[in-house]
Symmetry: C3
Subunit: 175 residues, 3 copies
Amino acid sequence: MTIPNAGPVLVLGGARSGKSSFAERLVEASGLAMHYVATGRAYDEEMRDRIARHQAARQGKGWTTHEEPVELSGLLRSLDSPGRAILVDCLTLWVTNLMMEGRDMAAEFAALAALLPGMQARLIFVSNEVGLGIVPENRMARDFRDHAGRLHQIVAENSAEVYFVAAGLPLKMKG
Amino acid sequence: MTIPNAGPVLVLGGARSGKSSFAERLVEASGLAMHYVATGRAYDEEMRDRIARHQAARQGKGWTTHEEPVELSGLLRSLDSPGRAILVDCLTLWVTNLMMEGRDMAAEFAALAALLPGMQARLIFVSNEVGLGIVPENRMARDFRDHAGRLHQIVAENSAEVYFVAAGLPLKMKG
Amino acid sequence: MTIPNAGPVLVLGGARSGKSSFAERLVEASGLAMHYVATGRAYDEEMRDRIARHQAARQGKGWTTHEEPVELSGLLRSLDSPGRAILVDCLTLWVTNLMMEGRDMAAEFAALAALLPGMQARLIFVSNEVGLGIVPENRMARDFRDHAGRLHQIVAENSAEVYFVAAGLPLKMKG
């Protein structure tokens, strides 16, 4: 279980699939300086609880945590350095935040894609696969899953390895 | 990347998974005469936009497009000819249209299944996997995903190759 | 197609994916005494119809059926015996019933996990993957898919083989 140096790793999975744990184990086994980028915003108590539980689980293992709901590409650029592994958890929350801010999604995705090939740090992206249920009735949810799907394709195309995680088990889709 | 001559290809995937692009690339690499069967009905502007975008993407590449929301088996029979590849996009929209018309779903699926072994054209079916979310609250959505799931099993059983596409990456399930 | 003796088999899949049929075929090919544990409760006519259809499909093939919506671990312990195959269909309905009864989910899952390594019967668990759609709007549905996801990870970790079934086709994730 190693992180490739040929490009990012994308870890896709459903809710409670074990995707974040898998990604964290990848980084923890790498021997690199461990940076965690949390894109989630705590809108309510449920969310705050989840974030706190995740942080507690990483605590004491040597992770440096960064919170950035929107300016992900800028943060990745500023953190870039060889010898670092940067885990972004997760892309779908970033998509949600970009939509809330009314950003130009295609431009944001293109900026991230443009950044990836030149990064010296190892990047691991975690994201929720959300497109395998019934078509949602509300337009915003439909737009969200369209944006998420497009972003997954863009990141996967620029990644060295892509995993699909279910029941805690990683299935390699690429690499 | 070739189309087998032993039977149809089924390409399953979620929303914005890249399943249609993958299927189109399969056909475009085949050297066969390219026929596109669109089963979608434009109920609203959002849908019309999507259909128009998809048609524009195929334009100029030599595809012949056919629109048939309901009488899929009849159209396939009339188009059958060696040297042709027929891409059906997508089965889930056909299921929706059959339900709207109050058709006998089992009979429609059986008619399609009966047609497949004798076809001389190469067939590529695209469909949405919709059964991996929470059970929908409304009965029609539950019926829809039951019908879609049954149809996928029937078509997969009669196919030479089945792919599951996520993040633009095809995973071979059969063949 | 054989059942391993190194531990349980977990069969995950979406609605109408063919997961139950695949699990039943596994057991029917095993030559073992066949026990079927139905965890579903018939809340309405739709559900009663489904249960009856499933029972009819097993009828005459030599299955012994047990219905147990809640006390799954106790039933499995009481049925344990070498030479038996026990198919549990399905874990997600058990999760639903535990939630309805206000049980301590973590304790129930831990009790099941503790039971698995010592079982002499071959166990086959069927469950719905429900975490690959849009985040549900209601809290109970979110809790449900969190519980289901956690249980899948626990059972997968204690299983010798894990399959993901789509369109009737099993994809081996573990074993």
